[in-house]
């Protein structure tokens, strides 16, 4: 089989497998990974009324994976009566972040400005992180809607990272690393991450060294978190499709190896 044809067949097979899996309702419990439980317990241990920075560090492309993660975390925050302060280090995360906070706040009857706030986007992420460490009001004199932040009850007493319990970075790339390298390393603010599945292992060393307090990733992480907070969502729904795609990749590896062994044996016989 030539490589172009086998590539196309592999693509078509994946498309069919994932589409079928998306149509089948997913049921049953998932096993909660220790790191997801760690994140849940960290948020659960924060006293009600405390402010926490939620940073939407992603673009629109990863939304199908990011959205369930963000919704599960925000729901938990609002359920615990925490005060999330939204920011974004990437321009595209701004509108998405605001919409997600707005949606979850509505579910819990929370009022903008009192129970949560959204400060918006600052360009140059490293500069933004460092600047917030010096002064959050100086970095964001106004919120996303143009209201001076000193008039927002949700922002009362928040001047630097010392005044928030931590930063929850929802990211599709390496942006959480910058929070660790500059926010944690320089200002000692606790960092937790909710990242796409492809990125999760790159944060393992930070989690193991204690530079991150907690971490969860991908649709699986979202499904696990949804189970912990007892509210279903996109994570649980997408989990079957993700599982099928994992198994499909495994099947590709096996088929690829079988084809390779067969070709090698044939070559060996011909040379004899």
């Amino acid at each position: 089989m030539n490589s172009a044809l086998s590539r196309r067949l592999a693509f078509a097979g994946l498309f069919i497998a994932v589409t079928v899996a998306m149509l089948i309702p997913s049921e049953g419990d998932v096993r909660v990974a220790p790191e997801t439980r760690q994140l849940y317990e960290w948020i659960d241990s924060i006293p009600p009324g405390s402010q926490v920075i939620v940073s939407f560090d992603h673009e629109a492309s990863a939304l199908p994976e990011i959205r369930p993660l963000a919704l599960a975390l925000l729901r938990h925050c609002f359920e615990r009566d925490l005060v999330p302060i939204g920011v974004s280090l990437l321009a595209e995360g701004t509108g998405i972040g605001f919409a997600l906070m707005d949606q979850t706040a509505d579910e819990y009857d929370k009022t903008y400005g009192e129970d949560y706030a959204f400060l918006g986007f600052k360009p140059q992420f490293i500069a933004a992180i460092l600047s917030m460490g010096e002064s959050i009001p100086a970095t964001y004199p106004e919120d996303y809607l143009g209201t001076p932040i000193d008039s927002l009850p949700a922002m009362v007493g928040v001047t630097t990272y010392d005044d928030v319990v931590g930063v929850l970075s929802i990211a599709d790339g390496s942006m959480t690393t910058h929070w660790v390298e500059y926010g944690e390393a320089r200002f000692g603010v606790p960092i937790a991450g909710a990242v796409t599945a492809a990125m999760i292992t790159s944060y393992d060393p930070y989690l193991a060294s204690g530079q991150m307090v907690a971490l969860m990733g991908g649709l699986r992480g979202a499904a696990e978190y949804e189970q912990l907070i007892g509210i279903g969502g996109g994570g649980s729904r997408g989990l079957l499709a993700q599982s099928v795609s994992h198994l499909y990749v495994l099947a590709m590896i096996i088929i690829g190896n079988l084809l390779w062994w067969r070709a090698r044996r044939r070559k060996g016989k011909e040379s004899v």
């Binding site: 490589s3 172009a4 590539r7 673009e59 492309s61 990863a62 595209e92 599709d172 790339g173 390496s174 796409t196 492809a198 990125m199 292992t201 790159s202 193991a208 060294s209 204690g210």
Partner: protein
């Protein structure tokens, strides 16, 4: 009036400062110490040995060569600078062989610096007339906008060789697979540990982490730069000794650096 030292130096960062001073001293000593500078030779790095073949292939096939530094880095990242050092070497060769060099990037500053690096290389070889500034192009700051642009460029221009050197994120496999499907010889290198796995599977040669930084020493054979790579090895040995020493102490008398432990 004398100000106490503690007012100027944060005690928490003192260990990092000491480590940084030791590292700097080692680099400066190996770089400027005349006798040591002349002695060093680098082990062959397969990926860099293949650079010449990749350029030769593009020239023979009369097809362009594509070099891109990934979406994850900006100009202040050492990885980007390391990639630009390799670009300089590649541009020198393409100028000699009159082979078209495409350099798409996601960052306007990288574009400007790459244009300067490319122009300098073309001037060095006396072929400044062959230099095409608009082939060093800023395509999009958005990750997948950039990925789509480079992917489209590979599909349309059909480069004979693709260099994926720099900081890459999720776009790595998209670019590497499209390059592979087009039949290009691919040399990749990155400091993103997670993307290395993708590059190893999809590319012909992969520079793993520090090999990318050693490339300018390898390609230029400049004694001063070679000596700084030697400093890197000395530091590596010191780190291994420190790890082993602490391991022995920790397993016999307990962990001595409680304040540095993970919680």
């Amino acid at each position: 009036m004398l100000v106490p030292l503690t007012a100027w130096i944060e005690p928490d960062r003192l260990p990092i400062l000491i480590a940084a001073i030791i590292a700097t001293a080692i680099v400066l000593y190996t770089t400027y110490h005349r006798r040591s500078r002349d002695r060093y030779r680098m082990r062959p790095i397969q990926g860099l040995q293949a650079v010449e073949d990749a350029i030769g292939r593009a020239t023979e096939m009369a097809r362009p060569l594509l070099f891109t530094p990934g979406w994850g880095g900006d100009i202040q990242r050492p990885t980007t600078i390391a990639a630009l050092n390799i670009l300089s070497h590649v541009a020198e060769k393409t100028s000699r062989y009159d082979c078209r060099l495409l350099f798409p990037t996601h960052d306007p500053v990288i574009m400007s610096v790459a244009q300067e690096v490319g122009r300098e290389a073309y001037i060095r070889t006396g072929h400044s007339d062959r230099f095409q500034a608009d082939d060093f192009a800023y395509v999009s700051s958005s990750q997948f906008g950039y990925a789509a642009a480079v992917e489209g460029m590979i599909a349309r221009e059909n480069p004979a060789s693709v260099f994926l050197l720099g900081t890459f994120e999720a776009e790595s496999l998209i670019l590497a697979e499209v390059g592979n499907a087009s039949g290009a010889i691919q040399i990749a290198g990155t400091d993103s540990t997670i993307q290395l796995a993708f590059f190893i599977v999809a590319c012909d040669y992969t520079l793993i982490g520090e090999e990318l930084f050693a490339a300018s020493a390898y390609l230029s054979q400049d004694p001063a730069i070679l000596a700084s790579v030697r400093a890197q090895d000395i530091m590596k040995v010191l780190i291994v000794i420190a790890i082993l020493t602490l391991l022995i102490i920790a397993s016999t008398v307990g962990w001595p650096l409680e304040s540095l432990s993970a919680p």
